[in-house]
C-alpha cells in the first residue's frame, strides 16, 4: 500500500509562484512565462512534489479554519 497522492501537472489549472509583497495591486511572476521548457517544468515539478507530501488543512467562509475532515486517500 502506498499513500502517494495520484496527481500530476495536469491537475494544476494555475500556478502563482512566490508571495509577492506589494500592498497596493496584485502581482504575478512573469519571467517564468519566457523561461525555457526545462525551467518551467522544474517549477511545476517542485509544486507537484509539495502537493504530494504536505499535510492538508481546509479553510473557508463556511466554517473558518478547520482541520481536514478526510485523511489523504490511500492508493490501492
Amino acid at each position: 500500500m502506498s499513500d502517494e497522492r495520484d496527481l500530476d501537472e495536469d491537475n494544476i489549472r494555475a500556478l502563482r509562484a512566490g508571495h509577492g509583497a506589494n500592498c497596493s495591486s496584485i502581482g504575478s511572476v512573469i519571467d517564468t512565462l519566457f523561461a525555457t521548457a526545462t525551467v518551467g517544468a522544474a517549477v511545476f515539478a517542485a509544486v507537484v512534489a509539495a502537493l504530494k507530501k504536505e499535510e492538508v488543512r481546509v479553510v473557508g467562509a463556511d466554517g473558518g479554519t478547520r482541520p481536514a475532515e478526510q485523511k489523504p486517500a490511500e492508493k490501492p
Binding site: 491537475n11 494544476i12 500592498c23 504575478s28 519571467d31 523561461a35 499535510e55 488543512r57 463556511d62 479554519t65
Partner: protein
C-alpha cells in the same frame, strides 16, 4: 498546505514552496478531499485569496503620487481592531495579507500584527518605503514572509516618481534587509520618466540583494488623481513596448530562478500589444497571471475598516469584519459584473479572460465610468479605427 474549495476545484497555498495553486477537482480528490456543497453550489462568487490591509494612514515621506494621500499625522487603527479584521480574513479563507498604509513600519506593533496574521494561517507580507529603517524596525520586518521596498530607480529617476530623491536610503534598506536574511523584493513604479531606466533599476535592485522586482503601473488615485497624472503615465509607445521589455528582463534575470520579475494587475492590459502574448492567454493563466482581480481574488481593507475592491478604489460600505458577506455587497458585485461582461473591444479580446478589462481605476478617472481601459493599446487602436 491550506486548501479552499472553489466550484472548479480548490485554491491551495503550499507551505514548503512559496506558491498558490489552482487545483482541479481530480487533483483535490487525489488529496483525499471533496468539495461537497461548494462543488454543487450555483454561486460562482469566491472570496479573495489576497487582502491588502492599510494598517496606518501615517507616513512622513510625502510622495507626490501617493495613492492614498496619507500624511505624518494620519490615523493608526488600534491593534485589536486589526486583529479582528485578520480574524475575518482567515474566516473567509484568505491566504495572504499584504500590510501597507501609510508607512507600516511606523507602527510599534508591526511584528505583533505579522505574528497575529501567521497564527491565523495567513501569510504576512509588507511594503515599506525603507526610509527611516532603524535597527528596531528592521527586526520587526523579520516577522514577515517577504518585504517589498519601494524603489523606482536611482537619483533623478526615483525623484521623478516621488518628488524627492531617497533612492540611497531605499537602496540601503534593501541591502540591510537582504543581509539580515529577509526575503526582500522591490516595487518599481513605471512612469514616463522611470520606464526608460527600468533595466538599470531592476539590475541595481538585484545587486543590492532583492530577490524579486514587481513592476507597477502608475495609477490615478489619492494625490496622483490630478492633471499631473497625464504627464506621468506611460506613453502609448511605452505601454506597447511592455512585452519586449519583459522578455529582455526575463533574459537578464530569469535564467537561474533565483530572481523573479512580476507585473501588477493593471499592466496586463498592455500585453495586448504583444502578438505572441496576446495569443497565449492560456499560457498566462497557467502561470497564474492576474489582470484586474479587484473584488475577485483581491480586496483591500481600508484604514477605516471597510472593504474596497482594491487599494486604489473607493471603499464600499461593507465592514472588513464582514468580509465573508462579500458576495452580497452591491458595489463589489458591480465590479465583478463588469469583468463578467465587458463591452467591446474587451469582449472580443483574446486576453479578456486574464486581463479582465484592464484597470477600472484608470477608466474611472479618465472617463468617469467602468469601461475599457483607455490606456490599453488595443482599446486605443479600436477607438482610432472607429473614429476613422
Amino acid at each position: 498546505m491550506i486548501v479552499r474549495y472553489e466550484r472548479w476545484g480548490a485554491w491551495v497555498k503550499l507551505e514548503t514552496e512559496a506558491a498558490v495553486v489552482a487545483l482541479d477537482r481530480a487533483g483535490v480528490r487525489a488529496l483525499g478531499l471533496d468539495g461537497g456543497h461548494v462543488w454543487g453550489s450555483q454561486t460562482s462568487v469566491s472570496a479573495p485569496i489576497e487582502i491588502h490591509m492599510a494598517v496606518t494612514a501615517r507616513c512622513g515621506a510625502g510622495c507626490e503620487g501617493c495613492y492614498l494621500d496619507v500624511s505624518p499625522d494620519g490615523v493608526e487603527p488600534p491593534r485589536a481592531e486589526l486583529e479582528r479584521e485578520l480574524d475575518a480574513a482567515a474566516a473567509a479563507g484568505v491566504f495572504t495579507v499584504a500590510f501597507g498604509g501609510g508607512e507600516p513600519t511606523t507602527r510599534e506593533d508591526l511584528d505583533v500584527l505579522a505574528d497575529a496574521a501567521r497564527a491565523r494561517g495567513l501569510t504576512p507580507v509588507v511594503t515599506t518605503s525603507g526610509l527611516g529603517l532603524s535597527d528596531a524596525r528592521l527586526e520587526k520586518l523579520r516577522h514577515f514572509d517577504q518585504v517589498n521596498v519601494s524603489y523606482d530607480g536611482e537619483g533623478d529617476t526615483y525623484a521623478a516618481v516621488r518628488g524627492f530623491d531617497a533612492s540611497d536610503a531605499a537602496g540601503r534598506a534593501i541591502e540591510r534587509l537582504a543581509r539580515a536574511g529577509v526575503r526582500v523584493g522591490v516595487n518599481v513604479v513605471l512612469t514616463r520618466q522611470s520606464f526608460p531606466r527600468v533595466h538599470e533599476t531592476v539590475a541595481r535592485a538585484r545587486a543590492l540583494g532583492a530577490i524579486e522586482a514587481q513592476l507597477l503601473r502608475y495609477k490615478p488615485a489619492g494625490r496622483a488623481a490630478s492633471l499631473d497624472y497625464l504627464a506621468r503615465r506611460l506613453s502609448t509607445d511605452q505601454a506597447r513596448s511592455l512585452g519586449p521589455t519583459l522578455r529582455r528582463l526575463a533574459r537578464e534575470h530569469g535564467d537561474t530562478g533565483k530572481f523573479h520579475v512580476r507585473i501588477d494587475c493593471a499592466l496586463v492590459a498592455f500585453l495586448s500589444a504583444d502578438p505572441e502574448l496576446a495569443a497565449d492567454a492560456a499560457g498566462l493563466a497557467r502561470f497564474g497571471v492576474f489582470g484586474c482581480e479587484a473584488a475577485g481574488a483581491l480586496a483591500a481593507f481600508t484604514v477605516d475598516g471597510r472593504v474596497a475592491p482594491c487599494s486604489f478604489a473607493a471603499s464600499t460600505r461593507l465592514p472588513a469584519l464582514s468580509l465573508s458577506a462579500h458576495a452580497g455587497d452591491p458595489e463589489l458585485a458591480r465590479w465583478r459584473a463588469y469583468v463578467d461582461g465587458p463591452p467591446e473591444p474587451c469582449a472580443s479580446c483574446s486576453l479578456r479572460s486574464v486581463c479582465k478589462g484592464g484597470c477600472k481605476v484608470v477608466s474611472g478617472f479618465l472617463e468617469g465610468v467602468h469601461g475599457p481601459d483607455p490606456e490599453c493599446p488595443r482599446v486605443i487602436e479600436a477607438r482610432r479605427e472607429r473614429a476613422a
